[in-house]
Structures are given as C-alpha cells and as structure tokens.
C-alpha cells in the first residue's frame, strides 16, 4: 500500500511537471500553430535562473525560506522574459512562414542548452533547496517527499489561474477565439499578434516555473533536462488534444502515473516505452486526442 501511495504521488508530481511544460506548448500550438521546440530551453533557462539566484549570486535570494521563493520568482521572470524575446525576435518576423517558425525554434532549442553548458558546464549541478522542502511526510504508511506536493500544488494553481484567465478576462477571450479560428478574430479587427506575445509569456512563465520546481524534484540541474522533458510534454500535448488545456491536464496525470507505475512494476525504462505505445494506440483509435479537439 505504501508503495502505491508513494508511486502515485511521484507520478502525480511528474505529471505536474509535464503539465507546466505542456500547458504553454498546447496554448502556443493551438493559437499560433507553432510547435515550440525551444520550450525545453525555456524550462532550462528557468531552472538555471533559479539555481543561479538560489546559489547566492542574487542579493536577497538564497537556498532557504523567503530567499528561495524569491529565487523561484526570479527564475520564472527570467524564463518569461526569454519567452517574450523569443516571440518578438525569432517568431514574429516569420509569421508568414509557419514551417520556418518551427525550424527557427529548433535552432534556438539547440543553441540555448549549448550556451548553458558552455557557461556552467555540461555536468549536472546540485540544486540548492530549502530544508523544509527536502523532507518527507507520512501518509498511509508511506514517506512521501514534500517536493511532490509543491509541484502538484503549483500545477493546480497554474491550471486554475489559466482557466480563470481564459474564461473570465477579455484577453483570455481573444486567446480562446484565436485558438478556435484565428482568421475570424483578425477579420473582426482584433490584433491577434498581441495575444501571441501574451501566450508566449504565459507559456514561458509556466515552463520556467516547471524548471525551477523541477530542480527540487530531480535535485539537480543540467542543460539537457529541458529537452528530455520536452519530448514527454509533446506526448502529453498530442494525447490531450492540441490546444486544449483540460486535455493537457488529464493527459499529463495519465502519462506521469503510467510512467511511474510501469517503471516500478516492470523493468526500468519500460514505463517510458509504455507511454509512447499508449500514444500510438490512442492515435489509432482517436486521431484527434483525448478531448477530440481539432489538431
């Protein structure tokens, strides 16, 4: 029983991490038809920003308490700025060439991790975290690490905030309408390009937060972390139906749980395979993903 509880929480924690990456990816794809291959790089930027601040390079930030919270905010802010820069400098000049947009993000996705490893080395760096979050708590006889709960909580907050933003605000309405039919929104005289930058900022912030908290989850940061998470985030986005936030949330929970349980009860690595096989099976039955949204 205790194993099941531990595996469930670890799977949910991993799913939360996937959701933080996939929510932005899904929105960006839904609105702009851009498959953002640089999203993993944004996660790495967030992780390194937090690590840099928490290691004592930023005054006021540190590895404990409020200092760590400040470091996470700093990392998220750096990731958001990076995402906005990416949209303005790389994506925007290529609006009329959709395939080139994807290719340009591939280039950025290759260059940024290389730059990170040029500056801080390609080896994993230990991630400083507050003592309070490195402990465990007892639940039904299992010792569950606290960082899982932090991740799940952060993902829930992001999901709720995004839902409220999309459902209750005017900007959210434009984004939703843009996902539905971009040409129509433009025809109505609304500048969708502002929404593009906004969605990139939101997606970048979520991914960078994922990177900052992923550092807690993995206990270290390395330049390739974002890229390896990105592939599973892609799986989540396709499984959930592209452009759908609820679909991404459901799919990330499913993917995280399947991966953890299969990795534990069969041989290690089989869980990662199982996820991919499930994706293939799902696409054969329902080519538009779980929620049946138009791809």
């Amino acid at each position: 029983m205790s194993t099941v509880v531990l595996l469930t929480f670890t799977g949910l924690g991993l799913g939360a991490l996937y959701f933080l990456v996939a929510s932005g990816l899904s929105l960006i794809f839904g609105l702009m038809d851009v498959l953002n291959f640089a999203h993993g790089a944004l996660l790495s930027v967030g992780a390194y920003g937090t690590w840099w601040a928490a290691s004592g390079h930023l005054p006021g930030a540190g590895p404990a308490g409020a200092g760590f919270a400040f470091a996470v905010v700093f990392g998220t802010a750096v990731g958001t700025v990076a995402a906005v820069l990416l949209e303005l400098a790389v994506i925007r000049p290529l609006y009329t060439r959709p395939r080139e947009q994807i290719l340009a993000t591939v280039g950025v996705g290759l260059a940024v991790p290389a730059l990170l490893s040029a500056i801080w080395g390609s080896d994993a760096r230990p991630f400083p975290g507050p003592k309070a979050l490195s402990g465990t708590f007892g639940l039904l006889g299992a010792e569950v690490p606290l960082n899982r709960i932090v991740l799940i909580g952060a993902a829930l907050v992001v999901l709720t905030a995004l839902k409220l933003f999309l459902g209750r605000t005017r900007h959210g309405l434009v984004v939703r309408a843009g996902v539905e039919d971009r040409a129509m929104v433009t025809a109505l005289g609304i500048d969708v390009r502002k929404a593009f930058t906004l969605v990139f900022a939101i997606g970048g912030a979520a991914a960078a937060l994922g990177g900052a908290l992923g550092g807690l989850y993995f206990g270290s940061v390395d330049p390739e972390q974002g890229t390896s998470l990105l592939i599973f985030a892609f799986v989540v986005v396709v499984t959930g139906g592209m452009g759908s936030l609820t679909g991404a949330a459901l799919a990330s929970v499913a993917v995280g749980l399947v991966q953890q349980f299969a990795n534990y009860y069969t041989t290690a690595g089989l869980g990662d395979l199982a996820v991919v096989v499930l994706l293939a099976a799902l696409l054969l039955v329902r080519p538009r993903g779980l929620t049946g949204r138009l791809a």
Partner: protein, 377 residues
C-alpha cells in the same frame, strides 16, 4: 527579348552563332556532376593541402575519414529530404531507421556471429520492416501530429537502446564492431580510402535513387501531396500509400547509411538514436535548401565539416586567448550551428544553394534600377 520568345529550333540556326555557342557550353556544363565525381573519387590519391579547410594533406587518413563522414551525412540529408522537401512530411524520427541499420548489423555480428554481408542485409531488412510498420501507424495522423508520433517512436527506440536490454546494445557506451567479422580490406587506418569510396558510392546511390523516384510518376504525386493533399485526393488517389512509400524508401536509405556509418566509425553509439540526431539532419536539409537536387547534400557536407572543424577551433589557442564573452559561446559548436541555422532561415530562405541565384537576382535588379535611373532625366 526577341531571342527569348523565339522557338527553340530557331535558336539553333546559323544566324545565331552566339546562342549556339552558349547552348553548347550549357550542354557541356550539364556534365559538371560527373567531372566533380571524378575529382572526388581521386581524392585519396591526392596530397594537396587545403589550409584552413582541412588539417594537413587532403588524402591523409584523418581527412579522408572526415570527408567520408561528410559524404555519408550529405547522403543522409538527401534521403531525409525525400520526406521533408519532396513529400512535405516533417518527420522527427529519422534517427530510428539510421540506428536500426547500425545497431542490428552490429548486434547480429556480435551476438549471432554471422558474417558482415549477412548482418548488413539483416540490418537493411530491419530498417525496411521498421519504417514500414511505424510509418503505417504514424501516417494515420497528419500534420504536426505525424511529427510528434514519429518523435515519440524514435524516443522509444532511443530509450530502448540506452537501457541496454540483455546487454545487446551496450547501453550508453555503445559497442565496437567486431574486427574479425569485417572484411580485412575495411579494417584499419591504412584502408580508410576504401571506406571513403564506400561512402562516396552510398552518396551516389542515394542521389540517383532520389532523383529517379522524384521524376517518376510516384514523385509527381509526392509533389502534389506536398503542395495540396486534398487536391490529390480529389484526383482519386489515396495519399496514404504514396506517403508510406516515401517513408519506407527514406527509412531504407537511412538504414543503409547506418551500415556505412558503422563501418566508418567502427561501432554503434547511442548518440545516433537521439532526437538531436534527427534535428541535425533537419538543420542540414534546411541549411542547404529543401526540395532541391543538391541542397540537402551541400547542407549535410557543410554541417558535418563545420561541426568537426568548429570543435577543433574551440580547442585551439586562437579561441582560448579571447575574452570570455566571445570564448564561452565559441567553445560550443552546437551553439554556433544553432545560431547559424536561425540566421539561414532569416537571411537565406531556400538555403545555401539558392545563394548564387539570389546574388544574380540582386545584381540584375540593381542593374535594371541603374538603367532606369539613367533613362530618367
């Protein structure tokens, strides 16, 4: 203007000796690939140094190895362009079929103890079977869904190889090819020239196969699918079968490339299975120019050469003396290549092979502009 509108036969009459000469010249220059092939073929006999481009004489084993790698990647990029530039399929899983050729051949030699010829045949068949099977599944979704499914399959392959099931793949270390199973003429540094010629033969084969299929009726349908899939359906053709044919052909060529790569590098390493490998193929194709005859090859050769030479440059004293703002990014070839790639997308749509045409176009437009200025008082 009048010569351009004349019928073709008229241009060949004796009244226009200039046109005839230019046509004869054009017909002669059509054979430049053959001439180039002869030059490339004789490279191992040459001791010509190419300072800056290569270290030492061009025919030295180290340089031949690098050139052979360039040729293999030129061929791989050409095969990959069959999907990207000719059929409009953005596959992120091409590494899988390349790795299938490398790993199956190597593992059969090591585990079953079969000869290289038999193992290579099995490796090629594995590439065909795998691309047919996974292509049949992934082509059921179109657009970006297809890209993601191919990516997921390739990732599964990569995980499988790195987990080292039963010790057959060698995990993260990879496994060296057994020298005793390979033909003696393909082992050892003194036989690098043979490997170079094999790589050249592979490149020629890929170029011929791609050119031939693209010009065949199937190739016309591929072009139609690339332009507008719905209209191909309206014509009463099912795009699925044609797309699968392109996928399997590209997968087969990649598996063959994997076998050549195995010979060239003397082992199978998991780097060849990663999504980065596929992305580098993508970069090569776009760098050179998608959907063109020579573009992917040029891109593959340039990328591979730059990847190796930039690595040498990063380790050299010239870079170590620079201030850290310049030294740090320059020490990472992948950073430079990624940045270069983004620059090419912006500044050179259509890739490097379009560069001469663009320069010519710019010169003509400037000339016309000048003339118009002269005409206007």
């Amino acid at each position: 203007m009048t010569t351009a509108t004349q019928p073709r036969g008229g241009a060949r009459t004796a009244d226009h000796p200039a046109t005839t000469r230019s046509e004869r010249l054009r017909r002669a220059t059509r054979w430049w690939p053959a001439l180039l092939l002869v030059v490339v073929f004789t490279v191992p006999y040459s001791a010509l140094p190419l300072p800056g481009l290569l270290d030492g004489p061009i025919g030295s084993p180290g340089n031949l190895q690098l050139l052979a790698l360039c040729l293999v990647f030129g061929a791989l990029a050409t095969g990959y362009d069959l999907l990207l530039g000719r059929t409009g399929l953005l596959s992120f899983g091409h590494a899988l079929y390349f790795a299938a050729g490398t790993y199956v051949t190597n593992t059969v030699m090591l585990e079953a103890g079969l000869s290289f010829a038999v193992s290579a045949l099995l490796g090629l068949l594995a590439g065909v079977a795998l691309s047919a099977l996974l292509g049949a599944v992934s082509l059921r979704v179109s657009g970006i869904g297809f890209s993601m499914v191919t990516l997921a399959f390739a990732q599964a392959g990569s995980i499988l190889v790195q987990r080292d099931p039963g010790g057959v793949t060698g995990g993260e270390e990879g496994r060296a090819a057994p020298a005793e199973r390979l033909p003696a003429s393909l082992v050892g540094i003194e036989h690098t020239a043979n490997l170079y010629w094999i790589a050249l033969a592979y490149l020629v084969l890929v170029l011929v196969v791609v050119q031939w299929t693209v010009r065949s009726p199937i190739g016309r349908v591929w072009e139609g699918i690339k332009e507008n899939e719905r209209r191909v359906e309206v014509l009463g053709l099912r795009p699925y079968g044609f797309k699968l044919a392109a996928f399997v052909l590209a997968g087969t060529l990649a598996a063959l490339g994997g076998i050549v790569y195995l010979l060239l590098t003397g082992g199978a390493t998991p780097q060849a299975t990663t999504s980065d490998f596929t992305l580098s193929l993508l970069v090569m194709v776009v760098l050179g120019g998608t959907g063109t005859r020579w573009g992917p090859m040029v891109g593959g050769i340039l990328y591979t050469w730059a990847d190796h030479r930039l690595g040498d440059l990063a380790g050299s004293g010239a870079v170590a003396g620079l201030p850290s703002v310049l030294r740090v990014p320059l020490s990472q070839p992948l950073f430079l290549l990624g940045a270069l790639f983004v620059a090419v997308i912006y500044l050179l749509p259509g890739g490097v092979v379009r560069l001469p045409a663009r320069l010519r176009g710019a010169r003509t437009s400037r000339a016309t502009a000048d003339r118009e200025e002269v005409l206007q008082p």
